[in-house]
């Protein structure tokens, strides 16, 4: 479904992504984990269109998207839920969601989806007409997620959904994502610092380190992998020290 082939992306003069290649199959949840500064957000931004790779190819369902602006990628079924939520604070929750469906022409479908999401996320209902900036972090994340879903994406890109959330809320959000994948067959590409939680819900995962993909495997494989455990899961330090 999504094939990222060997892209190099620069942030100004800094070479952030070096020959990064990943792919996401239909119906999969794929997680990309790595430390701060490894390039996870850059990777997602390159796929979403907020940044442009200097070389390489990004293939989404047969279309080369690497050069398209983000507003053009939406029509193809690619939606990004950005880091830090980025809601339209002064607008109500309802209006935020409606804007999520901005590019869609089917008014009835939009109305239907709005209702569906309202049912699915009852939290949103209580804030339906209140300005989005009045919501807490976890609630805002829900709104951001719902807004991205309003565009009926086929692949959902999530940039650090658990950022700034308490562990309980983080688990909640990730569980919601997993449910969305299972129930609606929504493909998800997830970038996360919380490696354990992300790998738990993912079918497959990648480890990104200083701009390179260094590991690839299924969710459970990576969880059990020694390197991953040492570097990202905080295990096995004792053994290293004693070596």
């Amino acid at each position: 479904m999504l094939k990222v082939r060997s892209i190099h992306t620069y942030y100004g003069a800094v070479h952030v992504l070096k020959a990064a290649s990943i792919h996401v199959g239909p119906g999969e949840v794929v997680a990309v984990i790595g430390a701060n500064g490894a390039g996870k957000t850059t990777l997602l931004k390159s796929i979403a269109g907020t940044l442009f790779p200097a070389s390489g190819r990004i293939d989404f369902e047969g279309t080369e998207v690497a050069g398209l602006f983000p507003e053009h990628r939406l029509g193809l079924g690619l939606a990004l839920c950005p880091e830090g939520r980025r809601l339209f604070g002064g607008l109500s929750v309802e209006k935020n969601l409606l804007l999520g469906a901005f590019h869609r022409k089917d008014k009835d479908g939009v109305r239907q989806d709005l209702e569906t999401l309202r049912q699915r996320f009852p939290i949103l209902d209580s804030f339906w007409n209140r300005p989005a900036r009045n919501l807490s972090g976890g609630e805002q994340q829900m709104v951001a997620l719902a807004r991205a879903l309003m565009s009926r994406p086929r692949l959902l890109l999530l940039d650090e959904p658990s950022l700034g959330l308490s562990p309980l809320l983080a688990k909640d959000i990730l569980k919601t994502i997993r449910d969305l994948n299972r129930e609606d067959n929504l493909s998800v590409l997830l970038v996360e610092q919380n490696a354990r939680a992300a790998l738990r819900i993912a079918h497959r995962g990648y480890v990104l380190e200083t701009g390179r993909i260094i590991l690839e495997g299924s969710g459970s494989e990576l969880l059990a992998h020694e390197e991953v455990q040492r570097a990202y899961l905080g295990k096995a330090y004792k053994e290293i020290w004693e070596r």
Partner: protein
């Protein structure tokens, strides 16, 4: 003919002086002032009124008082305004200029719309004025160049880039900005006095918005923040209408169009450096060891 050229040289020199003085806040510290004509006017009227009421005062004293008076106004009025963002500062200075102009027209002692006339020229000839004007220009350019290179200049650049960061380094922006304005008002006031006694009559029209905009065009055209920029911009924009007398109606068209074109295609002006092409003042130090490559991340 020679007298005409002399006249151009004197008047042109005054505009260069004004542009050079405006360059200090606009070019060095990024503060847009659309009311510079007012400082020009303050100096002119101070000098003119003092000359009328206290005829004993010698010219050099009037010159100094005009400059200091103008600077004093700047110091008094600018602090609250300089806390505002660029766009707002620009309009506040514009408003100040307008209020000044209205004040001149409506108050009795400034002579109203007719202004002051019959001002003494202290027996000075054209050539004398030439020395005074260009002497002042030289002084102003010298001051600008010293400011640019010294600690003051570096602090100003820091403020221009990011005020917040500059603060964390212990640089207090407000006194520096006020200082810039005071200096620019000083030289503008001096220009005002020179103008008053050369032309021997002054009225509100010359010190209004149109002049302020013209001066700004000169600074931008020449290159904001460069030392000689105001010289180039001032001479060019001053001579243009003089040489193209028949095209006097097209003046504003040219000024406006030129300003737009320069800002789009060459914002650094005639003498400025293109962004990204500065001379490296501090050459990059070569690394003696390659940066360590580690796979473990804290």
């Amino acid at each position: 003919m020679a007298a005409y050229i002399l006249h151009l040289a004197i008047l042109g020199g005054m505009y260069v002086l004004l542009a050079a003085s405006l360059n200090i806040p606009v070019g060095l510290s990024g503060q847009v002032s659309l009311g510079h004509g007012a400082f020009f006017g303050i100096g002119a009227y101070i000098s003119g009124l003092l000359a009328i009421h206290y005829a004993v005062l010698p010219f050099p004293l009037l010159l100094v008082l005009a400059g200091l008076g103008s600077a004093a106004v700047a110091v008094l009025l600018s602090p609250p305004a300089l806390k505002l963002k660029d766009e707002y500062l620009a309009v506040v200075t514009l408003g100040f200029g307008l209020i000044f102009e209205l004040g001149l027209k409506n108050l009795a002692f400034t002579g109203g719309t007719d202004g002051l006339y019959g001002l003494p020229n202290f027996g000075m000839q054209g050539a004398d004025f030439l020395w005074w004007v260009w002497g002042a220009v030289a002084l102003c350019l010298f001051v600008t160049s010293r400011l640019r290179k010294g600690q003051f200049g570096r602090n100003l650049t820091a403020i221009k880039e990011s005020e917040r960061t500059a603060r964390t380094l212990g640089i207090a922006p407000l006194p520096l900005k006020v200082g810039c304005f005071a200096l620019s008002a000083l030289f503008a006031g001096i220009a005002g006095s020179l103008y008053a006694h050369y032309i021997t009559f002054i009225n509100p029209g010359v010190f209004g918005l149109h002049t302020s905009i013209l001066l700004l065009c000169m600074v931008v055209l020449g290159g904001m923040g460069t030392v000689l920029g105001p010289l180039a911009g001032g001479i060019l924009l001053f001579l243009l209408p003089e040489l193209l007398q028949e095209f006097a109606d097209y003046q504003d068209l040219v000024y406006g169009g030129l300003l737009i074109v320069i800002l789009i295609f060459r914002p650094q002006g005639l003498l400025g450096r293109a962004p990204g092409q500065g001379r490296r003042r501090f050459p990059l130090r070569r690394r003696t060891q390659p940066a360590p490559a580690s796979t473990s991340n804290a």
